[in-house]
Symmetry: D3
Subunit: 317 residues, 6 copies
């Protein structure tokens, strides 16, 4: 009875108070974050039945991760690993002209040792939507293989397969990522990709509308969403382009914005809404996320609906 199943690594996120440098840090605020569990949280907060599949160290730190996800109403299905570590990442908040600084410390984490045997095949086949991101295959050779198996399994069942490109230059180079992405696209039904990555990684250096068409046609993807940062997003479905502007925010914490967008979009996909409404919910969930500390979009359906309605009214005036 899982509506959305997401698969990926989640880390401990450690951040100093605002205005304090990492090299002088005295105390860390601790939350958990990972692209796919962030998506899971957003969709679960919006009322869907969501399951996150992963591998974690059998330690208080591994339990720390699932405690937070369970409180977000995400069901967790975990393979416990008693030999490897929990990935962590350090986040130093920025302030113009000083950018946010992220220091990853995720090498050799329990998740990078996941195996095909760890995949809950039955659960995957029974899901309505299966989602992962381009970070997952980039973590290790093993995760690349397991990702392929996951998408294949989902694709062979009735599940819709959702994939967020999420290219991370600190993990792998563009060529390796491109090869892997292209081999995965055949299983994908819903593709989310930032304009810049489509251009830089996939080599499609065109206007976003053209990018969407090239991706949809080239890889037979049903729905392509190109995200445009402060310009919003656009989607191609059934040969038609749909545009969504971004919502202005007083940003408190920008980490997880893209994941919130995907989570909001998928929530409306599960609700059976049309593409316009899916985009609107994605944008509203992303905007709310930016006002909240941590990776996760702790929002309610009412709050998102209110933003969507406000934005709609503004347009109709």
């Amino acid at each position: 009875m899982t509506e959305l199943l997401t698969f990926g690594e989640t880390m401990l996120r450690l951040s100093p108070p605002r205005g304090q440098r990492l090299e002088a840090v005295r105390e860390f605020e601790v939350v958990v974050g990972g692209a796919e569990s962030n998506v899971a949280t957003a969709a679960a907060q919006l009322g869907h039945d969501v399951r996150w599949v992963s591998r974690l160290p059998d330690s208080p730190l591994g339990r720390r991760v699932i405690r937070e996800l369970r409180s977000n109403d995400v069901t967790t299905e975990i393979v416990w690993d008693d030999r490897h570590r929990l990935g962590t990442y350090y986040l130093e908040h920025g302030s113009d002209p000083r950018p946010v600084n992220v220091v990853y410390d995720r090498a050799d984490s329990a998740f990078t040792h996941i195996s095909e045997a760890d995949l809950p095949i039955g659960t995957i086949e029974a899901a309505d939507v299966v989602h992962t991101s381009g970070i997952t295959p980039g973590l290790s050779d093993v995760t690349a293989e397991v990702t392929e198996t996951l998408l294949e399994t989902a694709s062979d069942s009735s599940a819709a397969v959702s994939f967020d490109l999420n290219y991370r230059s600190k993990l792998w180079d563009r060529e390796a990522a491109r090869d892997t992405f292209e081999s995965l696209f055949e299983h994908v039904d819903l593709l989310f990709a930032p304009e810049r990555d489509v251009s830089d990684v996939l080599g499609i250096d065109e206007a976003p509308e053209k990018q969407a068409v090239r991706l949809a046609d080239g890889y037979d993807v049903e729905t392509v969403v190109i995200t445009l940062g402060s310009e919003g997003a656009l989607a191609l479905q059934d040969g038609e382009i749909h545009r969504q502007s971004a919502i202005e925010t007083e940003t408190f914490d920008a980490i997880g914005t893209g994941d919130a967008f995907v989570g909001g979009f998928l929530a409306e996909h599960l609700a059976g809404s049309g593409i316009g409404r899916r985009l609107a919910y994605g944008a509203a969930t992303a905007a709310l996320k930016r006002t909240i500390g941590g990776d996760a979009a702790l929002i309610t359906p009412d709050e998102v609906a209110a933003i969507v309605n406000d934005a709609t009214e503004e347009i109709s005036r």
Copy 2:
């Protein structure tokens, strides 16, 4: 020897750190707040002899309230109640497009059980100005009656009666509020009202200048101040309209802005200043309040005067 006596309920205010959702709160910052004690604080900080009359639970929480007000230099005159609770309110700070969220938990508080016998008649009669707000009669049938008695008593003595409309839709509906307000107006000398409430609650859907005239004439109110949010305020006195623009601020905490305005205005009223200066002090006190955490305007006469002078200079250049 009381210059200003205010009457109303004060609550414990509990707010999570910025960026933290109420549903995930781990720690609350604690202050006290209430419309009429906020007014009292602003006027006391500006150097006046101010007394706040109320009913509180005879508990550490009731004492928490008076400890803070005494430190603000407000004299407290309390009826102690050993059966009922202290009202509280939860405040979640907002960030665009997420609004501030206030959750009231004030039902059945000690204050709602106040009785006419609790009113210190002698003290009321000896005050220069007696102030309460539209929240007070909206709390319970009992408080509505006691409010009427208070205003009558003050009106029958030499005290000037000040009333801030402060309609709260979470407390009562518009019709009930309108009836009550209209019956109280006859005792009122100084009326503060937001443009929107005059329109929505009192049904006077006109330009603010007209609203002021209608209120002054209709209820024989000596001075009517219509507050206009970011547009400032205007006052009608002796048939003349006086305008005050709002002062731009980098807002830290907007709660209590309106009360600070009233407190600043009344302080200059007590000082015998003209209407223009009263409005200017109201606006400056309100602006300073917005830069300070908590409900209360912890300001000094010098700080307010500096803002007033700056604003004046700007205009005169």
Copy 3:
């Protein structure tokens, strides 16, 4: 597939930092606590399938409660109430000779408005053990009736009924409590009761062994556990007395000790262990709880087992 179902009210617990008086509080640490959800947490942490049934306000504060319980691995089954409040309690930590001070603010909470229709009959009937405490019937006339229905329903099914006396003098007087307790005992299979309450409330002013016999015989209770504070506990089952000494602790937070004892005991009951082992697990879980901040026993099966084994070894040396 619920092993343990608990039923009762859970509140927000607000406590100032150590050494700070409630009447001067500037910040509250926030956790949630309630006798029956505390029991649920302890048993869930020990690996059992536990469900907590309750009624909560449909607000961020109600959601705050279930977020914490879900993170403790407790399944929540909630009736959402959109009219009433969340109970809270204020906890001031003590330090000899100053006692812990608890100020309850739970009157008229959503839970006190629970109705029989809110009980999930099927779930109750399918549980292995159904547990509540003497606080629940003491909250309102309604909760007293619903408690009776709950215990009857459970008793009529195959569920074992567990009841912790938990008399609270701030809720009701001894006579009322006694009458209610006595009418509930007929449904009870497992009774936990502090020696003092058996004496003061039930009027059985005898040695604890005798108290156990009187309760077991008088009300046909299968297992009676008399708790003795720093003297540990004793249990009567099948006519035999079993003793358990308390484990010495460096106490950090004593709130919830008794609930942890019940949770540890019930966990071993569910595991099919004998009475001696149940008592040992109760005592060890309680001891660990005292070292942890908050109401809840965030412990692991290994940690509890280690204490049990240490204590056993000590005896055997």
Copy 4:
């Protein structure tokens, strides 16, 4: 209508979190403290009408001091100084075998510039008890003179004069202190003195009972209280010795214990109680103080009475 008037310097107290060294401090907890205002607070909390007379800088820091004292229900009568500083002291909490470390930074404070003209003669003459400590004359030549005038004035009126020896070796040497103390004793009715100071500073190296007799006879002091640390205290009045044992505590913050003792004692003096009860209230107030962070005894009459009754019961058993 002042029952107790105290006179002395109050400082800002800055202390690092426990376990953090002063030389590595990152944040200070801030309270205010001063021997005489500590006494004032204890007596005010016990329900008496108390006034504290002092001189403070006309700055936010000076106002910081009176805000805290007013919240403690102490009336403040301040001469504002626009040229000198606020005294501060740094307090590093200790832990055996590392002692508490106090670093004073009080030289040249506004208080050390007080003058006789600053004394509110009328208020002093109208007080029931006037209290200061041996710290006050030790701060500067000026404060020594003003102290003498204060005690003379009080002594010449109907006020009882209370004096706590409080020798501080960091302020002056023993000879200077002895000379000053001896010249002040003629005005004193109630003398509090630690056994060690009587021996080391006043040169009376005898058993405490003898010390009391020597002081009472030698300086014609009506009541002499010799404090004995963990041994409690003894008092000599009307030729009779009364003993009071100390109450065992789990100490959170020992600073201000002696002042709380004096405040509790004087509160019962004002209440007209006998010497035994005054000593008992002193000891109970002191014990409670040790459980509370900061210099001030934030206690209630009921809490102190409960300790006194407990201690009494223990003895009577």
Copy 5:
């Protein structure tokens, strides 16, 4: 082997959390700050060998200062004083229209008792650049004399002498400052001065370019930098004017901006860069400083270079 030697007073800086008034402060954040040690930190963080010479109390507070400077990679050369205090300053963060409020408490600090004998002559003579500011001679008659000796000594050796005007009206009046400054200028090679001080204190009320020329010519100063606040800065060297615009920032803490500018400038001076690059590094270091809490510019060479390059690119586009 010292590249930069700076000389001056450093204080403990105590600031309440944002939004909290100094008069209601409950906790202070603690850092250290002083114009010359701030300059030292910026240059040391940029990779230079920097030494700070000063006088401090021989106490945990004096050690607090050097602990922080050593962690910033500044070598400290301290004369320890066992009689005088550490200067402190209180900083209340502002928010428009409420300005930052600084309360100095630095009178009679150990530094004001420095003597010529305390100067490490050999170290001074061996430094490449010797820097102090106009605050130092303003602290006491003694510091004025020692400053003159310092500059003379440096000037007579091969060291370049750098001086930042830094007029503080709370320390001395304009006439005294002017006389002292003018007598020091003869030793100065690099002069930093805010446009306003050149006008108000030195009496050169002209356009900044003219001010630079007047200073360079009048006092034979090799390089004159006039700082213009949000307008950036300009420098005169070899008869040519060089301009530097300010970099826009989202400011977290503006204290120390000017010192960071000087530190960045001197770092490039030591690196042998031309005047344009020195100005650019000054501006970038200053901009980064504004995003960081505390007085000190905890930055890296790479971060500063990135800002410089960004700014350059912007211009070249």
Copy 6:
């Protein structure tokens, strides 16, 4: 001119507030810790010229480590690694019967990739004492080899070689440790070893006096110190046994106690003191450490001397 050179890994230490479980952690206190840098800190605080040699990631986290050590007055000589991570460890404070819980996350740290080429041979040869611990060779094959080279180099120069056994079962098994330790002993002049490790790891299951003799004779070690936990320590030198009792403490943070002992001992070794005084300083430094948060002994020579003198006086009475 280095008196003491220590070599080893230092990690970031992350600990939740007391009473908070690691699996529910919301904020970490951050300090740095490592056996050999802890020893370095203690000796540096006691006034010696101390250098710590290590390898760290070239990142803000690596700089975090040296910032703290420099503030402790330790000179750092670092090889910067731009590919590997910083080791971390998680510390959950305990409370009886719940033990302290340490979770290491140090695998594959920059330090484990140190090479012989990284050793500063000249600096090592010029040191008076070279110290490392049994943790260092246990980290990786590479560190085992480098440790051997370090001790050989030191041994071949005039440096005294100090070695603290410090067996960590989480790093390697006893057999591997024993073989490595035994091969290192030939270079060692000063050996510190806990009684239990000598028994369990080295297989010398005898009374501590015998253990010392066996080690001294078997491996030709000049001075052997056997540490006995709460029983203190004993040393064998020149064939004579010297005993030192432990000093009772109110423990705040026990981590680093053993390192503080070694640091205190070595400080007196460097001062040329006899074996009794070295032991006494070791014990006093260790006792003070236990009262201070973090791994490091932030103490002063005077504080240690006071404890030593107190302990001596106690004995001599």
